[in-house]
Symmetry: C2
């Protein structure tokens, strides 16, 4: 499994120190990854009740959004997003309770990394070639 902690300018919940922002990315042993993209998409799905609307909100093709959701659903033993087609609005998608827990976990990991690596990020930032 692989886990990335990203520190960049991104419109995601993250704590900043100086001009740095951090977020988490995790890669599983095979090739599947779990990062801010899928988590943000998950939040948009929760907000809109639709994969396509969430994709549009992130300026992402529906195909890609659907692939991300599909990956999420296949990489965990429990369903992360439930979707249905047809019906009044043509269909929709909801984040499962497991998906909600995954989001909470993800944010908690973010917090833990922020605090654990504060000094490292400061060192990296002060030693990196700015601009």
């Amino acid at each position: 499994m692989v886990c990335h902690f990203t520190n960049a300018v991104m419109p995601m919940s993250s704590s900043s120190k100086g001009d740095l922002r951090t977020f988490v990315r995790i890669d599983f042993p095979d090739k599947e990854r779990l990062g801010p993209g899928k988590m943000q998409l998950l939040e948009h799905i929760r907000a809109t009740g639709s994969i396509s609307a969430a994709g549009r909100a992130m300026d992402m093709s529906y195909r890609r959004a659907w692939l991300l959701v599909s990956a999420l659903n296949t990489m965990f033993a429990t369903q992360v997003v439930d979707s249905q087609r047809g019906g009044k609005q043509g269909g929709g998608a909801v984040v499962t309770e497991f998906g909600e827990e995954l989001l909470r976990r993800y944010h908690a990991m973010q917090q833990r990394v922020d605090t654990a690596l504060t000094s490292d990020f400061e060192w990296l930032n002060s030693n990196r070639r700015h601009s």
Copy 2:
């Protein structure tokens, strides 16, 4: 800046918990990244005194190895690898003192992440679809 903590089967110094191994990857605001690939290459350069030998040891094309070293040298204010061509062995490369400190920092970050995210990795591992 982006930081990845990767947990996968890889021949790198990393602590394992269960069948998981973690390592760190960092992405800077632009597009430059710092992860196990460059760090491992750095260790091979230290061991062999040569970019090409380090690349061969990692089964990596010289072009790629050189690009990674070039990226390392341009993303930090201080040189990470010093190289020279010509001479007895045809040339060579050495990891600078800053490069050594970078390696130490990287390993320290690995340690910190390992301890900070133990419970999260356990949760992810127990909830992921195995196989």
